[in-house]
C-alpha cells in the first residue's frame, strides 16, 4: 500500500515562501492569483493487514513525526 500525505502550514502561520511564490506568479503575468501556501508531499510505502490499520499507522506517524501539530495540518489517502 502507499500512503500519499500532504502537510500544509496552518492558516494562522505566516508563510513567507507562499507569499514570495504568489508575488512571482503575479509578476509573471498570471492574473487573478490569490493566496499561495507551500507545503510538503510525502509518499510512504507500507504493508499492513488492511487499509484501516494502515490509516491508523500513518495517522499516528503524521501526528508524532511527519507533521508538527503546532504549525501544520495534514491529510492523507491510502492507495492499494
Amino acid at each position: 500500500m502507499k500512503a500519499k500525505i500532504v502537510i500544509t502550514p496552518k492558516k494562522a502561520v505566516l508563510d513567507p515562501q507562499g507569499k514570495t511564490v504568489q508575488t512571482a506568479l503575479l509578476h509573471m503575468g498570471y492574473a487573478g492569483i490569490g493566496d499561495v501556501r507551500v507545503g510538503k508531499y510525502l509518499e510512504v510505502d507500507l504493508s499492513a493487514p488492511d487499509v484501516e490499520s494502515a490509516r491508523k499507522t500513518i495517522d499516528e506517524a503524521c501526528h508524532r513525526l511527519l507533521s508538527n501539530p503546532v504549525i501544520e495540518d495534514y491529510h492523507f489517502e491510502i492507495v492499494e
Partner: protein
C-alpha cells in the same frame, strides 16, 4: 583531556552534558566556554548514550542535526539521549537549548511553540541586541537590570511562533526570557532578525528549568571574539546550580 571525558567530581564544579547529534556544530564551542573560560566540568555526550552521567545541567547546542531533514529538530527529538533529557527535565534538571537546541526542545514538547522559517526567507548571520524580560530565572538571574546583551545569531529558521493564547500565557507567566531589541532597548520590528511573534528570542517552560534561545551565547563569552555578554547566561545557570548544591547539603 578528550572532550568526551567527564572530569572527576569536585563539588565546586558543576557538570554540564553537551549533547551531540549528527550535524550538531556548536557543541565544541559550548564545552570550550564551560570548561576553559568558566572553569567547570563539561563533556560531549553522543546522542545514542542513554545516561546523562550525573550531569547537573544539559546543553543542547546549535547546528543542523540530521541536516534539518523534515523539520529542524524533528528527528533529533527521538534520539535515545532525549528520553533521559525529558526525564531529567521532568525532575527539575536545568536544560538550555541554543538555536537548533531550542528547535529540538520545541519539537520534543519540552517548550511550547515552534520555530519556523525567518520572515525574510534569509539566513541571518549577525549580532543582535537582547532585552532580558524575565530576570528571575536560572538563565537570566546574573544579568544586570537594564543591561542589553549583544549576541550573534546564525539561523534560517528562527521565527518563533505559537498561537495567541500561548503567547499571552508566556508573557503572563514571565516565561519570555529575551526579546530582540535595538541598541537603545526598543523592541521594534527592525530589531528582529527573523520576524518572531513579539520579537521573542528565548523562552522557558512553566517550571523555569528548561529554556531555549535562538542567539548563540557560547559565541559571545570571550573578549577576544568581540563580546562577552553571552557568558552571563552560563554564569546564571552556574549560580543557580551552585545554590541548589549548597541547599542540598
Amino acid at each position: 583531556m578528550a572532550l568526551t571525558a567527564a572530569i572527576p567530581g569536585d563539588d565546586s564544579k558543576m557538570n554540564f552534558a553537551v549533547l551531540q547529534f549528527p550535524g550538531s556544530n556548536c557543541d565544541q564551542d559550548c564545552v570550550h566556554v564551560l570548561r576553559n573560560v568558566l572553569g567547570h566540568s563539561a563533556w560531549l555526550q553522543w546522542h545514542k548514550e542513554r545516561s546523562l552521567r550525573g550531569a547537573d545541567a544539559v546543553i543542547i547546542p546549535g547546528g543542523f542535526s540530521y541536516g534539518d531533514y523534515l523539520r529542524t529538530g524533528a528527528i533529533a527529538r527521538f534520539s535515545p539521549v532525549m528520553q533521559a533529557v525529558v526525564e531529567f527535565a521532568g525532575n527539575g534538571g536545568l536544560v538550555l537549548g541554543i538555536c537548533n537546541g531550542f528547535q529540538i526542545l520545541c519539537e520534543a514538547g519540552l517548550l511550547p511553540g515552534a520555530l519556523i522559517r525567518n520572515r525574510s526567507l534569509q539566513f541571518r548571520c549577525e549580532h543582535v541586541y537582547l532585552k532580558t524580560v524575565a530576570p528571575d530565572s536560572p538563565f537570566t538571574r546574573k544579568i544586570p537590570e537594564g543591561r542589553l546583551l549583544r549576541i550573534p545569531v546564525a539561523h534560517g529558521e528562527g521565527c518563533y511562533f505559537a498561537d495567541a493564547a500561548t503567547i499571552r500565557r508566556l508573557f503572563a507567566n514571565r516565561q519570555v526570557l529575551w526579546q530582540y531589541c535595538d541598541a537603545k532597548g526598543r523592541v521594534s520590528d527592525d530589531a528582529s532578525p527573523n520576524g518572531s511573534v513579539r520579537n521573542i528570542a528565548g523562552i522557558c517552560n512553566a517550571t523555569r528549568n528548561v529554556a531555549g534561545l535562538m542567539p548563540h551565547p557560547e559565541r559571545a563569552s570571550e573578549g577576544i571574539l568581540g563580546c562577552e555578554d553571552g557568558r552571563l547566561v552560563f554564569e546564571s545557570m552556574i549560580e543557580a546550580l551552585t545554590e541548589r548544591k549548597l541547599a542540598v547539603k
